[in-house]
Assembly symmetry: C2
Homo-oligomer: 340 residues x 2
């Protein structure tokens, strides 16, 4: 029996901790809720629809109640949770990495895509589309282990700055969306990122920036390579078996990684249309789709009519599908947590 | 402010619930721990090593303490958590499904692999190895949606019986291992299945059988197909982009799905060697590898020296890697929860 004395003592400590947690919850929950769960949102239609939905599906006496295990909310990342203009942030990382490698590697500078990048011609460096992008990613990977990549990204995000906003990229997360994530988590929703970006890239900072743990960040993936190096087992990054988690790939990624149909979905472009459809069409539970529309050229960027982040078809379908459209300029009191 | 009255009321209810939970925890935690966290285990080396490890890494005053977020434990499924003899259970499902399809489809019976199955010649039906198995799986899928597949498996597992044990397959889970899962969960470990079996197959029953939610069941996957059918969005099963989650594939699957290195790993065959290595070699945290050795031909099955579930290399490496070997016959008081 002696073996169990320690855990028993630890349990007593834990009881106290739980009681303290329960009591502190009393105070904090009341004050947060009484104040406003979404303080950066104007009191308009979008905010009301989000709150009405959450109240309805978490009310155990409502016929629209959703059990906790089924409360899955998915969020696109670039342009939905943080700024994606003028460049997706991961692309900015990739460019910095390739430039770093090219400094030390003369051969690399002969590569036309790399040469274009070094001249600041990003469009030229990506002339080959996805293939070109993957080739640049392979250069940036350069046989790094997954642990080394993580450290490298960690260092970069702690200092790299957005060129116009003059803040670190990780500070360009949208304050109103962080409030939505917190609000859903407080209501026992499991919150996932479902992004076209690289899963390994997002997982480095997703917990710090959004309070979303790495295992709930779903993105594009490649299969690493398993190696024993002396007495250490390592995973080496490759571009093998690359799977792009975008468009129709998003519901497939949701099926592969979560295995449940989400009940809430937040996106901002036609790349999110399929996962909005998957969430809201034929769902056994009540569901809500939300589109973040970039209408604020002053505080952020106004776009969507063309280019890689276009929002045309999903916006057209929004009324008939019942998707809520968030007008960033009108619906958000503040865009970022820093003053503008 | 009116909008917030309801959640405020609900919070009061939740406070009470939390307090009650805290109090009931007091009672149940003490009694469970004081009694024995692993009652189906003999008081031998394997049991002691598991308990010592858990106590050490959850003791906040120990220099071996592991923060909660990093407490990831991975379990192989077939042969580690439930019976895999005389056939892996998913293969039994597949055979039943193909037979069902063949009843209604004369053409199918002309397929040599199907014809062999119908004659009871399982070895013959799998003569083409993995390719043959995938072809049978494609037949069993037959354009099912993921939702239909889930229902189908759900029905099957509720009745299909193990040929020798005369119990439902889902009742052939190992009681001592269920106790380990419960024990780890009570100590804030996040428990994952990492199996060569199909992820979609396991996710149907993983919560019922092991208290492991679908999103924590990692397995072999294929990419489904996204389709709009009228006003419903569905995912249709395919064999596209099949990824086998076995051997070196297991650490890769762990990286893709979890993105953290596990600290505990349980396996039973050479197919688990790479994930045992990944868990225990070069881990920044203290780690524990455990091998379940099938030594009990009376109560279960004795095997490992040959065949698809062989355990040779991992067993050889166990002493030098410090992996704990569980001798089923000697270490387990009971194998299943039903009397034998």
């Amino acid at each position: 029996m002696k073996v169990f004395l320690m855990p028993l003592l630890k349990c007593r400590v834990r009881q106290c901790a739980l009681l303290v947690m329960a009591l502190s919850f009393t105070v904090s929950a009341e004050s947060v809720w009484a104040a406003d769960p979404l303080p950066s949102w104007q009191d308009r239609d979008a905010r009301q629809k989000i709150i009405e939905y959450v109240e309805k599906v978490t009310d155990s006496e409502s016929d629209q109640f959703i059990p906790v295990a089924e409360r899955v909310a998915v969020f696109d990342n670039d342009g939905t949770l943080w700024c994606e203009s003028p460049l997706p942030i991961q692309l900015a990382y990739l460019i910095d990495e390739v430039k770093k490698q090219a400094k030390e590697n003369v051969e690399l500078r002969k590569d036309p895509a790399v040469a274009a990048l070094l001249k600041g011609d990003i469009r030229g460096s990506l002339a080959d589309g996805l293939d070109g992008l993957l080739r640049l990613a392979a250069i940036a990977n350069a046989d790094m282990t997954c642990d080394e990549f993580k450290e490298n990204v960690q260092q970069w995000v702690q200092s790299a700055e957005h060129p116009r906003l003059k803040r670190r990229y990780i500070d360009t997360a949208y304050q109103p969306m962080i409030e939505v994530i917190n609000y859903l988590q407080a209501n026992d929703f499991k919150t996932y990122i479902v992004s076209g970006g690289g899963a390994d890239f997002m997982r480095v900072w997703s917990e710090e920036v959004y309070n979303i743990p790495p295992e709930q960040a779903i993105g594009s993936t490649a299969r690493p390579k398993f190696e024993l190096r002396g007495d250490k087992a390592v995973l080496v990054r490759t571009s093998d078996n690359f799977v792009l988690n975008d468009k129709e790939g998003k519901p497939l990624g949701i099926q592969q990684f979560i295995g449940r149909r989400p009940v809430m979905c937040f996106g901002n472009s036609d790349g999110d249309k399929a996962m909005l459809e998957y969430t809201t069409m034929g769902n056994a539970h009540p569901s809500l789709g939300v589109i973040v529309h970039h209408t604020d050229g002053d505080r952020e960027y106004a776009y969507g009519k063309e280019g890689p982040q276009k929002l045309i078809e999903a916006l057209e379908d929004a009324p008939k599908r019942g998707w809520v459209v968030v007008d960033m300029k009108e619906d958000w009191k503040t865009v970022f947590k820093f003053p503008q």
